[in-house]
């Protein structure tokens, strides 16, 4: 049985969104990718789609209006939404950011590599783990 749940991507950079879309395509992911450009929009979308929640959230930290950490906090405050695994995808290697992320119950913290090919590899590994954990539930 294949994991058919959607993936929510929170990213303000159009290019980064395109990168993930391209990677999904390239890696042959069949999951729907929904992208929102800040935490506020992301939360609004989640509220509207209570019946069809995503199976995974890919979260950039640096966004306008509502940044990644705030979004993460809101998600984890909600009884239902907190069940969705959130993986932080950021350019920051800063240990304090990593710590802050895990403190807010992020499922994973990934530093985006510079090379696109490395990014593909990373995303593929992550998808693999997600699929396994989804199948287990």
């Amino acid at each position: 049985m294949k994991n058919q749940r959607s993936v929510l991507l929170l990213e303000d950079s159009a290019l980064e969104i395109k990168k993930v879309e391209r990677a999904f395509q390239k890696l042959g992911f069949e999951n729907t990718l929904v992208s929102k450009i800040n935490g506020k929009e992301g939360l609004a979308w989640l509220m509207e789609n209570q019946d069809n929640l995503p199976g995974l959230i890919l979260l950039d930290l640096n966004m306008p209006i509502m940044d990644g950490f705030e979004f993460l906090e809101k998600v984890k405050e909600d009884k239902v939404l907190k069940m969705i695994p959130v993986v932080i995808m950021t350019t920051s290697k800063h240990p304090s950011d990593k710590l802050k992320g895990f403190e807010r119950q992020a499922a994973g913290y990934m530093v985006k590599p510079v090379r696109y090919s490395d990014f593909l590899e990373m995303l593929s590994t992550m998808k693999h783990y997600w699929d396994i954990s989804e199948l287990a539930t």
């Binding site: 350019t91 920051s92 510079v114």
Partner: protein, 772 residues
């Protein structure tokens, strides 16, 4: 006059007695008085003596007849008394007897025959001189011969004024005579007067005389009864000396004043040639000359070469030791005589005794042998007794003064010292300021001392501090220490100042007091506040800068990643349309973007290194170095040798990892030897750990040198692989922790980096006890 034993046997008679009885004294002495008393009155006479003995006092006047050698019976009138020894026990009688029958009034006598008058005059006790109206001597009795040294023969017919009247009175005498003969008035007549007279050798001496004018057959003649009162005067003088001294000593309290007064009065009033007053120093047992009149006196109240005599030595020392007076009649016979300024042959020395203790000695010497009499001794003893209390008080006063002077001196010294201190120093008694130095006046901006004396510092400060002040005062009064305190005051000129105050208990003016040192720290406080504000501002700026670097690097990284991704997509999408050169160029773009990303990451790490958030922890360097080596992926041709046992240190783990990782990775990166060797060592030196990381690689080129630690500097320009940020970070970590880092190119090849780490003794000790 006579003395006799208690039994009544004569022991002494004077020449009047001899004359009265018509016998020589050796014919009288030893015989009983009854031998000379008429039988009819012998019993009464005995009773008279018995009464004196039983009453123990002077008898009433008693008349009785005596038998003279010529067989005549003469009535005498007598008063008798006991004389006693020193203990007050009666030793015998002494009495004064006068012939009664012959001492009737002169008027009566004149009526008698001339012979009878003559015998009366002759036997009179006083010198009797009779002159006529012209002042010519017509009568001159035996006593007059004795008193004045003129024989009767020589005196008769001479004018009185030529014989016994001193030159200065002669004119007055003549005038008085004339005046009387003219007017019948004579103020000096018929009464006892004291005047001086001269004897045949011209020596003037005091006399007591009574002149009685008589008129017989219309012609005046004058009878004079004259008595030599030299001895009486002498006694009076001695008494007066004592009296005068007593008066002069009134109000004299200092030791010197009292001593000088004694010496001066003794000389002047007793007619001594010198007099020295010694005072005993109880501590040294030495007698010091304190006052001296005579040759030893120099200037006003000052002694020339004062000497000190040990107790027991010499006459003075001996007298001080035995506590009894001594007369030395001939010092040449006394082996103990101490020559002071001159040899003098006789010496009188009496102790000054107060409360059974000798406190000093009065000493007088005289060039003549046998000069001093028993009377001198008694007078000087009286003087000594009289002054002892005063002298003793003066000694106590002097000691007290000395103590006070010492105290004053030490206080003066203290004041001098304290007055010149730049810090405000004050003395507080019972919470009130009793002393404040000039710096204190300045600090509190008081115009005068009066403004602040009697106040307390609390009066210049806020009442809120009162409980704390009281608590400090209590602790200080209990002799406890209190910490210094800082508070704000308002000065007398209404300026606000912040002062720091240190207090400690002291003794001031013999009383418990508190010494307080106050410092004006207003400026210091302002500086501190300013510094704190600046530091805060700096911290804010730093934080902002870090935030800035964080954001900037993130913002820089995003487009970089975009460039990288886009380049790869071009290769991916248009790979078949690109030639080899085109693809290579795109890959170079990607490589450079990656390098740029590393640079940004490096800046980010550098900028956050100063914010040392994490706490220090115990780090086993062996373990840490091994982890670094494992992380580094060491090429096979390089071997890393680590000292067998590296220490455990207290440091930030992340930072220390960065240090070792950067240094070791640099050593690997710049290794150009075929068989590379990296050595890591450590040894303790001057309380620190000295680490060294040595390699046999390229070393550091001379043109770079110390700049190797600068941001973006590279040990070797040729190497394109490094960002040049690593060493800057290492240096920053080491120096931020108060440690040092430096390097030295090896003599053969390569370079050695050195750095220190803190060595914590207590921690290491506990570590040892833990492991053992």
């Amino acid at each position: 006059m006579f003395f006799c034993s208690l039994k009544g046997e004569f022991t002494f008679v004077n020449h009047f007695m001899e004359r009265l009885l018509g016998l020589e004294s050796d014919q009288i002495i030893g015989r009983h008085f009854t031998d000379f008393v008429s039988e009819s009155k012998q019993k009464d006479t005995r009773n008279h003596f018995k009464e004196v003995l039983s009453n123990q006092r002077l008898s009433d006047y008693f008349e009785f007849p005596i038998k003279t050698s010529s067989g005549n019976e003469v009535w005498v009138g007598q008063t008798t008394n006991l004389y006693k020894d020193e203990g007050g026990n009666p030793k015998g009688f002494f009495g004064v007897a006068r012939p009664v029958t012959k001492l009737r009034s002169v008027e009566h006598l004149l009526s008698e025959s001339e012979t009878k008058l003559q015998s009366v005059i002759d036997s009179a006790l006083d010198a009797v001189i009779v002159i006529n109206e012209k002042g010519i001597i017509t009568e001159w009795n035996k006593q007059a011969e004795i008193t004045f040294g003129w024989s009767k023969q020589r005196a008769l017919g001479k004018r009185l004024s030529e014989t016994i009247i001193p030159q200065k009175y002669r004119e007055a005498h003549e005038r008085g005579m004339k005046h009387f003969l003219n007017t019948g008035e004579g103020p000096v007549l018929n009464q006892r007067i004291e005047i001086t007279a001269i004897n045949a050798t011209g020596i003037e001496f005091p006399v007591e005389l009574t002149i009685i004018p008589n008129k017989i057959d219309g012609v005046y003649f004058f009878s004079s009864f004259v008595r030599d009162i030299t001895e009486k005067k002498k006694s009076e003088r001695l008494l007066k000396a004592v009296n005068d001294l007593a008066i002069n000593l009134l109000g004299k309290t200092t030791l010197e004043e009292v001593a000088w007064e004694i010496a001066k009065n003794t000389i002047e009033k007793l007619g001594f040639e010198d007099c020295i007053v010694y005072i005993l120093d109880e501590e040294t047992q030495l007698l010091h000359q304190l006052a001296a009149y005579g040759p030893k006196k120099a200037e006003e109240d000052e002694i020339l070469d004062p000497i000190s005599i040990p107790i027991g030595k010499g006459v003075v020392g001996r007298v001080a030791k035995i506590g009894a007076p001594v007369i030395v009649d001939d010092t040449s016979n006394d082996p103990e005589y101490i020559v002071d300024d001159n040899v003098r042959y006789s010496e009188l020395c009496v102790p000054i005794i107060e409360g059974n203790k000798v406190i000093g000695v009065i000493d007088s010497e005289h060039p003549e042998k046998n000069f001093y009499t028993q009377e001198h001794l008694e007078t000087l003893t009286t003087i000594a007794n009289m002054v002892s209390t005063q002298l003793s008080n003066a000694i106590v006063n002097k000691q007290k003064e000395e103590a006070e002077r010492l105290l004053r001196n030490s206080e003066e010294r203290w004041h001098k010292l304290v007055d010149n201190q730049p810090e405000a120093i004050q003395i507080t008694e019972k919470g009130r300021i009793v002393y404040l130095n000039p710096a204190g006046l300045e600090l509190y901006e008081a115009e005068t001392l009066d403004q602040i004396l009697g106040k307390d510092l609390i009066d210049l400060s806020t009442r809120e501090l009162k409980p704390e002040f009281e608590n400090r005062l209590r602790l200080l009064q209990e002799g406890k220490k209190v910490p210094s305190i800082e508070f704000e005051i308002i000065t007398f000129k209404n300026n606000r100042k912040i002062i720091e105050v240190t207090s400690s208990p002291v003794i001031y003016n013999n009383k418990k007091a508190i010494q307080t040192i106050a410092r004006d720290i207003t400026e210091k406080k302002k500086e501190e506040e300013k510094r704190e504000r600046l530091l805060n501002e700096l911290k804010v700026v730093n934080d902002q800068l870090q935030e800035f670097a964080h954001v900037v690097s993130h913002d820089l990284k995003a487009p970089l990643r975009a460039i990288s991704s886009l380049s790869e997509w071009v290769i991916e999408d248009y790979g078949d349309k690109l030639d080899e050169e085109g693809e290579k160029t795109l890959n170079l773009i990607i490589d450079n973007v990656e390098k740029m990303d590393e640079l940004i990451e490096g800046i980010l790490t550098y900028s956050t290194t100063s914010g040392q958030q994490e706490l220090d922890e115990k780090i086993d360097c062996n373990e840490l170095v091994q982890t670094c080596i494992n992380n580094l992926d060491v090429p096979e041709h390089i071997s890393i040798k680590t000292q067998e046992k590296l220490p455990t240190v207290l440091f930030n783990r992340i930072q220390l990892t960065q240090v070792f990782q950067n240094l070791i990775s640099n050593a690997i990166r710049f290794m150009d030897s075929e068989s590379g060797l990296i050595e890591i060592n450590c040894h303790p030196e001057k309380g620190k750990w000295h680490f060294s990381i040595s390699d046999n690689g390229q070393g550091i080129s001379e043109e770079i040198g110390e700049n190797v630690f600068d941001l973006f500097a590279k040990a070797n320009n040729k190497n394109e692989d490094s960002t040049g940020i690593g060493l800057s970070i290492v240096k920053k970590i080491i120096e931020n922790n108060g440690q040092k880092i430096w390097f030295k190119n090896n003599t053969e090849k390569g370079v050695t980096f050195f750095f220190t780490l803190p060595k914590n003794e207590t921690y290491e000790k506990s570590e040892i006890s833990f492991t053992s």
